[in-house]
Assembly symmetry: C3
Homo-oligomer: 353 residues x 3
């Protein structure tokens, strides 16, 4: 699967501003973990807990910081931030092919579409009227791009993605399979007996350098746009409701849902399966732990949580019953405190007699 | 994106049974919020909290109730229920095009299929054997309709939808991209060592006027049908297990999951990310708040919740530890109460000596 | 929809090692529940709670254990495990057709692909370079199989499934519509200001006899493979992150998410909407109840839970406030205990004077 020719350690070190401590001519063909790496493989050491693995690793070479140069059995490639250097080098070994420009004959291209000569349109792709596809774009098999949508340069859309009409995608965006952008926000007015649909007249705007996970859904706005700012990373199966705005460089893990009109700040992280209710404001630099329910705005950066911890089921059942009585329990404790205060005073009286 | 020609205020007022307080000849080209609306735009005022925005709005016209007619800077369109009137008018400004009858040459139509001359079948659509597509239906690009399925009149299926064989869809239904109807329910018998599949022999029935969100899944029944009654509104990424039945006009928000054979009543609302376990009965008019776990039947209408509120992470960690000890804590409080009762009695004795 | 010719009771009994107590020549055309079954229909009795339904059932025949042979109105088919026998017989009545070998003319087959003559490739399917499709495989309409993927014998892939490049699927696997296998794991290194993508260089391996639900996502590994072992059953909308490994015959219900590098043991069950955080080890034979958050490794088999139970919303609101004060409440109880101990001692002194 890997489509690389091999790189010398000096080539790799140059790419990440590193220094080779050993033979710079050795050739690396792939990346691996400390435990599994062997001949021709480069690994990295970024977490002190794995020092034993570092010392025992059979990797041809290891990316390390200055402090651990001498712990490497093979060749050390010394860099300021080994994890970051590793991330940057993964690109060289990726399985994705370079864009192969051209429109597959089975693709369906409607009137008024503009496709750059440098873009790749896969088999079975459907481009609606007036879609614009910029240079370096790749659109995977059987994806459907609704009319009047714009796909910015060097963006990659994987197979079976759906964009509704009027979605604007920035540059260097990566959209995974099964993602749906621009479906109707969930908006209805209640007419006593039944729900009357509020047609969703806004759009979706995706900033540059955004990644959108598999089967993630981002609804179009009711009147204005839903907006994912540049550098945002969204994992799989995330649900973004209408008119949500997510600030730059925020990262959200899988299966999280964000309800309508909520604004998430910049540089936030939201762990998986969290729920954020509608019309909230979440401050820049907020961190939400896994499976939390956020039902109030957060004005102060920091880490927030909700829920309870895991317990053996039988014990949990007893505690859950007590949770239902918690307010009453607190009132009983208050009464005890008052009674005891009373007794203490009386006790003092006793002492006094 | 908007495909409208503009409407005079008198035309719009007539559609919603309203009265124009000002120049009825003014032309509206789009809808907008109070804050952003300007010339040629109609807004609405439906929530007292936004009175300031109403008074400062530059909207050409605003839908208001009688009581707020004089708060409008532009023209007031006075109606009984401004939000409902707004919902009804959104249809005039929707981006969806009228159905363009015909079967795209790239669509694959199996034997015995019946497609109304008034239906639109998009590029790459696959219709299985004996599928029936009634008048006014639109099926989006690359959707797959399993054999023996029926699509009722005026239903709209967006791109990349999947219907398994034998799914019956009512009239005026809207199914969003990525939705999957009729996949196997999750049914297995355990044979000591391994799971034996129970083939799912039932179907799926979708009533009239249902909306189904993007990437929502509705499984086929084990022996009988899974049934979504008319007027039900399902948001994105909802999971409906086999043999669930959802009553008329119930609305369910995104990422909620309903386990097998549960029956949800009519006119219920379920907020996002809630979980409802299997074989339950939920009364008509029940409301479930966000991220709740419903593990018992609900016989009495009303609002129900579970979970805990959000807290700073460090504080939460301490409380979570206490939750694990909650049953024990309650027992200790009981002991204190008993001890105190004892002391009080003794105290009375002391007083008496 | 059912595609069967009818079976005599003696034929059916033979298939499940059962004994017919009555006329073995009667013909069964379909399966049904005790309550709805009638002439020509076979039902089963596997749960003591339904004894009344068994006695009143109009089923032509019922699968029962020895103990309930005389409770059947129609013909009893006596078997060791009626539920298991029922499961096995559902296969005879399934709506799925036998594989119809051949490649649909609208399918797109890249260079180097090997498709068995006994495999069925549906309309609009796209097979990437060097894909291998073994005998008896069926690939549903508009599914996309990335290059260098392998589909084992007798596997069935439904419509609109996406496999990224390099996914290896075992034999007799069933993958439902909308599932995405092999999308990038969610891996980024933080470079002060922005996230640097860690290209995901591993693959996905699916063992034999696995079932994967609709819209479930299984990410490819970062360096090594994500691995679903044989016999695992995954419901709809499950998210499996990179490098997760799930042990043989584990069953996971809908909407559960498992974060990166976690290893789940064999023969576990995870109920719906649970979240399991990353880098954990879950022991064989562990059972997680619905909507639980697992944030620590589990070393001892058994049932585990988290969360709180459902309550009326107003009562819940009061208890949630108290939960935030729970640590403080526990400290107050400790103080009361200490104070009371003190008083008791004093009380003893008093008694002594």
């Amino acid at each position: 699967m890997s489509n690389n020719r091999g790189y010398t350690l000096s080539e790799l070190a140059a790419k990440v501003g590193g220094r080779v401590s050993g033979d710079p001519a050795r050739v690396i063909h792939s990346l691996a973990t400390l435990q599994t790496a062997g001949s021709g493989q480069l690994s990295f050491f970024a977490n002190g807990r794995y020092l034993k693995q570092l010392r025992e690793s059979h990797a041809e070479a290891v990316l390390v910081s200055d402090a651990h140069e001498t712990d490497v059995q093979g060749v050390a490639v010394v860099v300021a931030d080994p994890y970051l250097a590793f991330a940057e080098l993964t690109r060289l070994f990726d399985w994705r092919l370079a864009v192969r420009p051209g429109i597959h004959p089975s693709a369906q291209v409607a009137e008024g579409v503009q496709v750059s000569d440098d873009a790749e349109i896969g088999p079975g792709v459907v481009l609606g009227e007036r879609v614009v596809v910029e240079a370096g774009v790749s659109i995977g098999a059987n994806s459907v791009i609704g009319r009047d949508s714009v796909i910015g340069a060097d963006t990659r859309i994987e197979a079976n993605v759906t964009l509704y009409p009027g979605v604007r995608v920035g540059r260097r965006v990566l959209i995974h399979s099964g993602a749906v952008l621009g479906a109707d926000g969930f908006g209805f007015a209640h007419d006593k007996e039944r729900w009357i649909k509020i047609c969703q007249l806004g759009g979706v705007v995706i900033g540059d350098d955004v990644e959108i996970g598999a089967n993630t859904t981002i609804d179009r706005g009711a009147l204005e746009d839903t907006w994912i700012e540049r550098g945002v990373k969204l994992d799989n199966q995330i649900q973004i409701a209408h008119n949500v705005r997510i600030g730059e460089h925020t990262a959200i893990a899988g299966c999280t849902a964000i309800a309508g009109s909520t604004r998430i700040g910049r540089h936030c992280t939201v762990a998986g399966m969290s729920g954020i209710t509608g019309h909230l404001e979440i401050a820049d630099g907020t961190h939400i732990t896994a499976m939390s329910l956020v039902s109030r705005s957060i004005t102060r950066p920091g880490a927030y949580s909700s829920g309870t911890g895991l317990e053996p089921h039988q014990q949990w059942k007893r505690n859950v019953v007590r949770f239902r009585q918690l307010d009453e329990l607190a009132r009983r404790v208050r009464k005890l405190e008052q009674a005891l205060e009373h007794i203490s005073i009386e006790g003092q009286d006793n002492d006094g007699c």
